[in-house]
């Protein structure tokens, strides 16, 4: 039955309503009838009719046009077909102007009605599919899909919602595999630019000249092989968002060009003489400490401040251990379904191994590890045997101690702990296994500011 597409027939003549309803029911539709406009609107309030056949002339109360307007007030998406026995151009024009989808004169050929109904419903089906796909796409990058119960991550997700509709530049910092692009997408798809393009550029993957033409496009003849004008990523992202990944790796020249785009939202295509203006939100990401790069004069200070309007620092997976069981379970469900393998969960012993691992490659590494385990798994549950290789893999805990004075090692450990705990001395001292006053003494001693 085509019950998903209910139809309403509105006519003061009972025989008209019932015979039309009976004919449409034979086609499998759920059909309701109403003897007047008032009843039709009441019904429309509780049922989302796909099509409403409304008679133009109904004595007493609302006429067909008024009924249509009232129905549209409660169901803006309903397609109203105005029916009349007296065809006049004026009423037809008025009906269409007020929002009627069609205007038909009764009696009409069954084929005409049948084709009309299927044409409208085909369009509605496409609209509905389109809406579902858009919703899916948007939902994919909304915070619902960032799996976490870590307070710091929850704060970040709340922040992405707050900043989503602003145009301010965002700088996302975090180690590789922490989900910088996922957060960038969450910002884009939660805001007013969600319907517009989200364009990703991996700055580290391209040489300076390639990246320049990739970002800004080029004119015909700008270089050998430039046979036609080509739009760059900035133009393609117009009205949307450009995500510049690994921004810390771009050359000084491109840093200067990018600064100009950030300041003026204008640029020249490579080999071009005409300025191109764009409205693009920039989200940049890096796994480098850009402040340090600025100090070392590897990154322009003015560009750093332009990019760092809103900074998001993503914690490493080892800083959100409580998320490992959640993420692991999520990956098991998703990957086993994708691979068509009957794996339903992870044993407690296996989880213990995952919790003990240092995860230098972060969430991406966890995902890969789960995929490898699912591929080789022979039971319905991942157990410790499936992860035994992980225990022997090198981790950050196997780091080599550099040949430096002990004081310097201690200083580095303190700086690293403070950075991991976002400057929170209480948490950093706990992580270092010393009390807070001792940490303060050491901060003073090593002249560390936080």
């Amino acid at each position: 039955m085509k019950k998903n597409w209910p139809i309403l027939v509105v006519d003061d003549e009972d025989v008209m309503c019932e015979s039309m309803a009976a004919w449409l029911r034979e086609d499998g539709y759920r059909v309701d009838t109403a003897p007047n406009g008032q009843k039709a609107v009441e019904l429309a309030k509780v049922t989302d009719y796909a099509i409403c056949f409304v008679d133009l002339k109904m004595p007493g109360g609302m006429d067909g046009i008024e009924t249509m307007m009232e129905i549209h007030r409660v169901r803006a998406e309903a397609s109203v077909i105005i029916i009349t026995a007296y065809a006049t151009v004026d009423t037809a024009i008025q009906a269409m102007k007020e929002g009627a989808q069609e205007y038909i004169v009764k009696p009409c050929n069954p084929q005409e009605i049948s084709m009309l109904v299927s044409r409208i419903l085909k369009l509605k089906k496409l609209q509905s599919e389109n809406a579902i796909l858009r919703k899916k796409l948007t939902r994919q990058y909304r915070h619902h899909d960032v799996i976490t119960k870590n307070p710091r991550m929850e704060e970040i997700l709340a922040l992405t919602q707050e900043i989503a509709s602003l145009r301010s530049t965002v700088l996302i910092r975090g180690e590789s595999g922490t989900g910088k692009e996922l957060i960038a997408r969450a910002v884009h798809f939660s805001g007013s630019r969600a319907e517009k393009p989200f364009v990703v550029v991996s700055c580290a993957a391209l040489t300076e000249t390639l990246l320049e033409s990739e970002l800004f496009g080029y004119e015909k003849g700008a270089f050998t092989g430039a046979n036609a004008q080509s739009k760059g990523k900035f133009e393609l992202a117009n009205a949307g968002t450009i995500f510049l990944d690994e921004i810390g790796d771009i050359s000084p020249k491109l840093q200067a060009d990018l600064l100009r785009v950030l300041q003026e939202r204008r640029f020249y295509r490579v080999g071009g003489t005409e300025e191109v203006q764009v409205d693009v939100r920039i989200i940049a990401a890096t796994n480098k400490n850009l402040a340090q790069e600025v100090q070392q004069e590897k990154f322009r200070e003015d560009l750093y401040y332009r990019l760092n309007v809103i900074e998001i620092r993503l914690p490493a997976l080892r800083e959100r251990l409580e998320d490992i069981p959640l993420l692991a379970e999520h990956f098991v469900q998703r990957i086993s379904s994708e691979l068509g393998k009957e794996v339903h969960g992870i044993s407690p012993a296996a989880l213990k191994i995952l919790m003990a691992h240092d995860w230098p490659g972060n969430v991406r590494e966890l995902e890969n590890v789960i995929e490898r385990a699912i591929v080789t798994c022979r039971n319905g549950t991942l157990d410790e045997q499936d992860f035994s290789w992980l225990q022997h893999a090198p981790t950050q805990q196997n780091w080599e101690i550099p040949d430096v004075p002990l004081d310097e090692l201690e200083r580095r450990a303190i700086v690293a702990a403070l950075e991991r705990k976002h400057g929170n001395v209480k948490e950093a001292s706990a992580a270092l296994g010393i009390d807070r006053s001792t940490l303060y003494d050491k901060l003073k001693r090593y002249e560390i500011t936080h």
């Binding site: 025989v15 015979s19 009764k106 009409c108 069954p110 084929q111």
Partner: protein, 183 residues
């Protein structure tokens, strides 16, 4: 046991009853009985359109259905219509008791061609299966050769076969099985 009743409404040639009995007997495990013919109700005639309201004929059939009628099918020579549509080959109550089929537009003569019994028999069989199918809950089928596919012109009737597709046939069989004889 309840039965499928056939009844002439207006002037219906005798030759059609055997055709209908054969077709219905093949698909519906029911006794088939005839009722005396009924006149076309005067109120059914629309003088402006020179056609007959099928709703009025169906009302009359419902009123004249014997107590043991599980279904009643009227066959009429009247050209049927409803207010919204310019004509109908037939009409039925979906999952109800009453159905009607018109011979008028199934005959070659309506299209200015010489009469042809085989063509009329085929078309009538298809429409009888179609309308009775509706009374057993079948809706229009997307399989164009199935008797339950929608026909909005005579070419579409000719394009169908004199049988249900597997899906509709199975649905019908399940309906009879679940009713356990008490249709």
């Amino acid at each position: 046991m309840s039965a499928l009743y056939l009844v002439a409404v207006g002037n219906v040639p005798d030759k059609v009853w055997q055709w209908i009995t054969n077709a219905a007997g093949e698909w519906f495990p029911l006794p088939i009985k005839r009722l005396d013919g009924l006149p076309i109700p005067a109120g059914a005639f629309d003088p402006k359109r020179k056609q007959y309201e099928s709703v009025e004929i169906m009302k009359m059939l419902a009123e004249n259905a014997p107590p043991d009628a599980t279904r009643i099918l009227g066959i009429t020579d009247a050209d049927l219509c409803i207010p919204m549509l310019s004509f109908l080959f037939g009409q039925a109550q979906l999952d109800g008791k009453v159905a009607v089929v018109s011979l008028c537009r199934l005959q070659q003569e309506f299209y200015g061609l010489p009469g042809h019994d085989d063509i009329l028999r085929e078309r009538l069989t298809k429409e009888v299966l179609h309308e009775i199918g509706h009374t057993f809950g079948l809706v229009h089928c997307s399989e164009q050769t199935c008797a339950m596919s929608l026909s909005t012109h005579i070419g579409m009737v000719d394009g169908k076969s004199e049988r249900y597709c597997n899906r509709c046939g199975l649905q019908l069989a399940q309906r009879f099985a679940s009713l356990d004889g008490g249709v």
